[in-house]
Symmetry: C2
Subunit: 427 residues, 2 copies
């Protein structure tokens, strides 16, 4: 028996605005940041659970404060009781009625819950000696589903259906695990596409990412000027040829009517998707856009607040691709539920990543999906940007444009001591 | 010319969980709280701008932290420049691209923005020597609309339409102001309805609020047990008779299918509305419920995150009554926009109140609507609970069940020094 003895947060900030890496039509100068949390126990296994929220700078201190404030409820708790019944841990935060007022289930508080629950799942995976993707993929369907919260979900997905999906996912699981370990999971590269880059830099990176690194898809930021977008898309398509997929990302800059007319200028480029055409909160707006720009698929999710929004997007067929972010919702349990929803409605998930720690984090869920839920990587790719991986003890490894699965126990988002010392924000 | 010299936050908490006032099916033991902010300038008018976020306890410190962190951008700013162009102040916070990541436009950060913008509008109203309802009601349509942000709104409401609505609202304005000052604006009472109350206390309060205090509507909390709800509704209907309106409030406890079957047990009670049947984030779910429980109207809004959600509820006809909360969205500008949306789609707004400071705050917007937007109080009532008004310098005054308009300059939410000393939270 062990107890939780302490929860420590760290405000890490990286000065990415210096290079315009990460710049898009909505976010001209992000400073990639992490509200990072460590959960300590009195067990003598030396295990520290880590979790984080990715942010782009200002306000990272507010997320740290939210985690600190909320974490008081964990101190002194029996660790095994929580790990054996992760639904308890979920309820402790998500159903704290006083905290619920500050959402419900959205924004800073929800992200903070996600960091804490991730840290607990990290301890669970480390104790089991498994990487998180494998822990989730190898849990019994009933056991995994018992950790999930179906409140507000039952008009779209009931627990019995979730168990059925996971049972069906048992077939061929061992082969898929072997295939994953041998070949990895397809990635795509956003590296060439930042709006702040010159044409030359964009074209050179587009060639390098596809010809040298082996990615089968790249993505370009758009939305500042339609003529300029068309020009850059032409350059990019020429650079990569017709066989590499090309997606675009508007980062929410358009209103609904504007999105429709703008995107309808892009049909010649055979786009894999158009991402975040408008506010992620506008389900109806996305449904309208999706109908009007067909056959270009709509993709969104990096700022989707919760499973309740995903449910509606799926019910309304308001997008073609779900882009779950690993640190916006309430941790592994909500992400697993979202993958099950996606499977029920037959939509591919292509996780959002790129921000510091996100590549390391999201790969576990995409791989869990391949192993135990959808059973396929068809039409599925994980975003990749070759930035800030050096801060991690187990950084993402890419081979031939594929994410190689993490083999170390845990969720793979532990940062190095050197980074902690160098990038701690001092206000 | 003056400058903003300081922004101070206060974490006020009131031990309301001791009495179960405020208890409902989702919130068994709230401690009504206020993340309260004061904005100081170096002008020699002695004016301090006040704003606040109402919360129900834990996490109030996180809201204070969010306000503090964000307020750094205000220090040293030219006051007149902001007050003459409140759109600048809005952009400073709502369109801060780094802060936007933490929402966008929802949760703790959005509420914190609301407190700061409220405090600036409070200074503007105090300098004009007018209560906020009158300042808003007497602004020129073009001037008021120039302060509003139509991003993500143009598929539902364009600036030209907003100006037209306000122009139409000029007719008869002076008479309505005179009528308001003489007679007030209709309120309704939630005082009898908390779930923690005994039958005797509920019935006695139902009679007192209607027969003695003159309210024409009361509201009961429901959602813990359907048989118990029906029994209590019978008692309440007997106590108030057929002519007083009766509404119910489930505080989001149901899933969609459950809401439909539960509410369909209530048809005999001639309900004014059923409030918060499920998650406020579920537009589609509310639309489904609204169709299925017709003719009982659905009401929601106290936890509605932004104008983008209201837009969709209106476009889908997913509710009958809009219940804007004064401290959940980004201050007066977003609230004004929401009232204009409601007018465009012809829905009544019945503001959420009751929490500490909310009655004082929301009345200004309902009265602005009466004076300058909808021009009517038909089917419109402001929620009222007779609690915690003693903490305010200008507490809400009720006469014959009507809210009397505040006549003091400002937004009317300034708290007393005695309260500040007594209820400051010390952790």
């Amino acid at each position: 028996m062990s107890k939780i003895t302490g929860v420590t947060t760290h405000d890490f900030r990286f000065p990415t605005s210096n290079t315009l890496s990460g710049s898009d039509a909505m976010n001209p100068d992000p400073d990639y940041s992490s509200a990072y949390v460590e959960v300590n126990t009195d067990a003598d296994d030396g295990i520290i659970g880590v979790g984080f929220v990715f942010t782009i700078g200002r306000g990272n201190d507010v997320v740290c404060k939210a985690i600190d404030s909320m974490a008081q409820a964990l101190i002194g708790r029996n660790v095994e009781e929580l790990l054996d019944n992760m639904r308890l841990a979920w309820d402790l935060f998500v159903h704290d009625s006083q905290l619920r007022w500050l959402g419900p289930e959205k924004g800073v508080e929800h992200m903070a819950i996600g960091a804490l629950l991730s840290a607990l799942w990290d301890i669970k995976a480390k104790r089991a000696g498994k990487p998180l993707w494998r822990l989730l993929g190898e849990m019994e369907p009933e056991e995994l589903v018992s950790t999930l919260d179906f409140r507000y979900m039952t008009d779209a997905l009931r627990p019995e259906e979730a168990i059925e999906i996971l049972r069906a996912g048992q077939r061929g699981k061992e082969e898929r695990i072997a295939n994953l370990i041998a070949n990895g999971y397809p990635g795509y590269s956003t590296a060439p596409g930042w709006l702040g880059y010159s044409d030359e830099k964009m074209v050179a990176l587009a060639k390098e990412e596809t010809e040298v690194k082996g990615f089968k898809q790249i993505k370009l930021k758009v939305g500042r000027d339609v003529a300029e977008d068309i020009r850059r898309l032409g350059l990019a398509r020429d650079a990569i040829g017709p066989d590499v997929k090309l997606a675009v990302d508007a980062n929410q800059v358009w209103d609904v009517p504007q999105a429709i007319s703008w995107i309808n200028e892009f049909h010649e480029f055979d786009l894999a998707w158009v991402e975040e055409p408008t506010s992620p909160d506008d389900v109806l707006g996305h449904a309208t856009i999706a109908r009007a720009i067909n056959p270009i698929p709509v993709a969104t999710g990096e700022q989707m607040q919760s499973r309740i929004l995903y449910k509606q997007y799926l019910q309304m067929n308001a997008f073609g691709i779900m882009q779950i972010d690993a640190t916006r919702v309430a941790g592994p349990q909500e992400i697993v539920l979202e993958y099950l929803l996606a499977k029920k409605f037959n939509k591919p998930v292509c996780p959002h990543a790129g921000g510091v720690g996100l590549c390391e984090a999201v790969a576990h869920f995409a791989m869990f999906d391949y192993v135990a839920v959808s059973g396929t990587t068809e039409n599925r790719v994980i975003e990749y940007v070759d930035n800030q991986h050096e801060h991690f003890v187990h950084p993402t490894v890419i081979k031939n444009g594929n994410y190689m699965p993490q083999m170390a126990p845990g969720n793979g988002t532990e940062m190095t001591l050197e980074t902690a010392q160098k990038y701690t924000y001092r206000g």
